[in-house]
Symmetry: C2
Subunit: 336 residues, 2 copies
């Protein structure tokens, strides 16, 4: 049900029946390691290419989530997924493995919440009872595709972020136990002219602020409605830019409830990760692992996840286009 | 509302308030030229790259559809779009121009009906009143990305298809006059092991048959329910394979109501187009131009469009993966 300009409210509050977070070696060394269902010691996962390893991360996450929900693959009606690879091949090939009806999405690193928003719409409108939503990214495939193969060892500026190797998925259901999705705000594409692919956080910050503003306006609530508001993967640089932009727009989110998945996943001052984590898998694994665990433990009651995406491609960069950003906000509350 | 395993029925029957089809020079020479709203004499559209020309095709189609619906951009609540380019940049950049909340999709050439299916769900669930759905492809960008730049002049086998240069979009509304969307079947990813990117039709045929079978099973209707059933872009080779597969599955669609957008757009024996048209823009322009015009003229009452997509990427091909296919079926009926 539409409320305001761009926010969907879900009266039935679809249930997140289960989630799964699968990560790689860097995630295993990070402060949220204990929140992953499965961690891999190397980037290859026993596969012969990084792309096949990325697909395997996603397949493993899907399998774990289906099992944790006490379901079988055939109980899942729809699979909503996307990733960073050209033609979202990780999602397409994992959908082949799953064998269930598939809706391919592309929202860059915002895909985690784009899929959760659309999945909630499907469940809330009684168009599906068990819907699998998720996304995946892999450090080595993303670096190769967007910047340079990691084997080149090229230097990066301090604004650069570290693509998370990880898959995060959730099973949304019309019934059962678990945290519930209450609303979702669909973002507009925002572009403030940043064209440096080593500063994705800066490029995405305006979209995060625009979607946050729309969310509070459409629902006529204040940020204090939530115990935690987490942006997707702005990292330390983008998060500061977002904070500055919010001041300009007179949007005040108290510091103690405002954070960023890209800062959380590798900690405040990660040596390799520079400005923090990024990639589709960043907000997906942090939300479906760490944040939902905190809800289940009773530490959090209502959270808002604002996943951000940078809608560039290597071609658009080469053709001197700036980097448009987008953000999707999804509100999740405890079932208690 | 879910019916059967994978079909959504839309009780409110969302209205296709307006559509737009914009094409390029080959489409202008084809038998459906009169069904386009706008045709361009060259592939560049006055832009400095083919990618920018592709974006312009889409922006023009959006503008025309909004105008034909008697709306302004700000009346459109959501824009659902995808394309064939890496990271769907044509859609992302057109969404930046539109300035409305955006949901990026990727279903390869099936994106036309993936977006119409999801758009119908949004309108039917009262989650949006005016939703813009569409897709675009461009011959030169697709050839460069998936096979070889056209300037190389490389030879193609007769199974190859010709990517349509065109954008097709529709405005779906909760009210007003126009053809109506009644149901949509979401496809599974099917893969019969074809790995030749010059035989996309063959790779997609099993998905078309699987989705058609699911559609008739879920709704418990026969193909005779429709005056026309059109697959997306199987072309002459893929369409014959689909016909053979249907015989095996004992699914009989009478020849006089069964056709393919990839065969229609360039005619039966197009000299350059080999096995027929393909690309996101194929089923989009044929449906939103030619087929909806026939509905409006009273020549057709109920049609089923089964858009097909090949979920490969150049990387998946290089890594020796086969080509998975998917198909989305959407039923449209006359408002009379």
């Amino acid at each position: 049900m539409l409320k305001g300009h761009q926010t969907w409210v879900f009266p039935s509050k679809p249930v997140i029946k289960s989630t799964a977070a699968v990560g790689g070696p860097h995630e295993a060394k990070g402060p949220l390691a204990n929140d992953f269902d499965l961690l891999h010691g190397d980037l290859w996962l026993g596969q012969e290419s990084y792309e096949k390893a990325e697909k395997k991360l996603l397949e493993e996450a899907c399998e774990i989530a289906v099992r944790k929900a006490g379901l079988k693959k055939q109980d899942v009606q729809f699979f909503l997924c996307g990733d960073l690879l050209n033609q979202i091949i990780s999602s397409g090939f994992a959908a082949r493995t799953m064998g269930v009806p598939f809706l391919g999405l592309y929202g860059a690193c915002s895909t985690s919440m784009e899929s959760l928003a659309l999945g909630s719409l499907i469940v809330d409108s009684r168009s599906g009872d068990n819907v699998l939503c998720g996304t995946v990214s892999h450090n080595a495939t993303a670096e190769k595709q967007y910047r340079y193969p990691t084997e080149y060892g090229s230097q990066k500026p301090p604004t650069a972020q570290w693509t998370v190797t990880g898959a995060g998925v959730a099973i949304l259901s019309s019934g059962g136990e678990g945290p519930r999705v209450t609303s979702a705000t669909i973002g507009r594409v925002m572009d403030m002219g940043i064209s440096d692919p080593f500063n994705m956080g800066g490029a995405m910050a305006p979209a995060a602020v625009d979607t946050l503003t729309a969310h509070f306006r459409d629902l006529d609530i204040s940020p204090r409605e939530y115990d935690l508001i987490a942006t997707g993967d702005l990292g330390t640089v983008g998060f500061q830019i977002a904070a500055d932009l919010m001041k300009k727009h007179r949007l005040e989110i108290p510091g103690e409830i405002f954070t960023d998945c890209g800062i959380l996943i590798f900690g405040e001052t990660p040596p390799e990760a520079l400005a923090g984590g990024s990639g589709c898998g960043c907000s997906a694994t942090v939300t479906y692992g760490h944040i939902l665990n905190r809800i289940k433990k009773g530490e959090l009651n209502k959270v808002l996840i604002v996943a951000t995406g940078a809608l560039l491609s290597p071609i658009s960069y080469q053709q001197k286009e700036s980097i448009p950003g987008i953000a999707y906000a999804v509100a999740i509350e405890s079932s208690r």
